[in-house]
């Protein structure tokens, strides 16, 4: 199960497992992020390279249009994946 929820303060929460089977079904949700955004990953249990690719594409698109993407509340094993991918040097992570 994977879900994307927008909180009242504009923060976007990613919930569950973001795997390759979810990428196509959810791509439009990420395309709908058109301005600077905070992604809350507190409830993201799992992400594979397919999900990381969508996050990277979103970051790149926002950056190129003058926006920003910040990630918060990463679980330790998710944070470690970002480090292995070299994404800890590309994403703004709190």
């Amino acid at each position: 199960m994977f879900d994307i929820r927008r909180a009242e303060d504009g923060t976007v929460k990613l919930v569950g497992r973001f795997d390759a089977a979810q990428v196509e079904a959810r791509r439009a949700d990420f395309d709908a992020i058109t301005s600077s955004c905070v992604l809350d990953l507190a409830e993201l249990d799992y992400v594979s390279s397919a999900g990381l690719g969508v996050l990277f594409a979103t970051l790149k698109r926002l950056t190129e249009s003058g926006g920003a993407l910040k990630l918060i509340n990463l679980k330790p094993h998710i944070r470690e994946l970002f480090q292995i991918a070299g994404f800890d040097r590309i994403f703004a992570i709190e």
């Binding site: 795997d19 390759a20 799992y46 594979s48 390279s49 397919a50 990277f56 330790p76 094993h77």
Partner: protein, 139 residues
């Protein structure tokens, strides 16, 4: 415990693959962190076979086993052309954002997670074997 099961060669099989893995983790009392890492390894290898071994649509065999603190995972793809994942370009994780593309991370992540990986190809059968030592405390 060792277990094996065939899955249709499609990304849509992932949910069933994960269910199969979760049953194995429960039977072997594998803790959550290691389970997430193993699931990621299987997803990356399985999706690579779906994407690149397109010569046949035969199901993919996934074999799981645990022995002496190590998990051994084998994926077997029948009647396919030779495909050597080692020929895929390795991603440069130190490159700046402007030079990176969204793809190409899967095998890099797998290599970082497992302790052993091998690819064999014989008689049109591709066999990928990975081993992860559960006593390693990292991802």
């Amino acid at each position: 415990m060792a277990t094996e099961r065939m899955f249709p060669k499609a990304i849509a099989s992932l949910e069933e693959v994960f269910n199969h893995l979760d049953a194995f983790y429960a039977a072997e009392a594998i803790e959550t962190g290691a389970a997430m890492s193993l699931s990621l390894v299987v997803e990356e290898l399985f999706t690579n076979l779906v994407k690149y071994n397109t010569a046949s649509r035969n199901p993919i065999l996934v074999k799981l086993g645990r022995e002496n603190g190590k998990v051994r995972i084998e994926l077997v793809d029948h009647d396919v052309d030779r495909f050597d994942p080692a020929t895929l370009p390795d991603v440069d994780v130190n490159a700046p954002m402007s030079e990176r593309t969204p793809g190409g991370l899967g095998l890099h992540l797998v290599r970082a997670i497992v302790d052993h990986i091998s690819f064999e190809y014989e008689n049109r059968v591709m066999r990928i074997v990975v081993v992860k030592n559960l006593e390693r405390g990292d991802v």
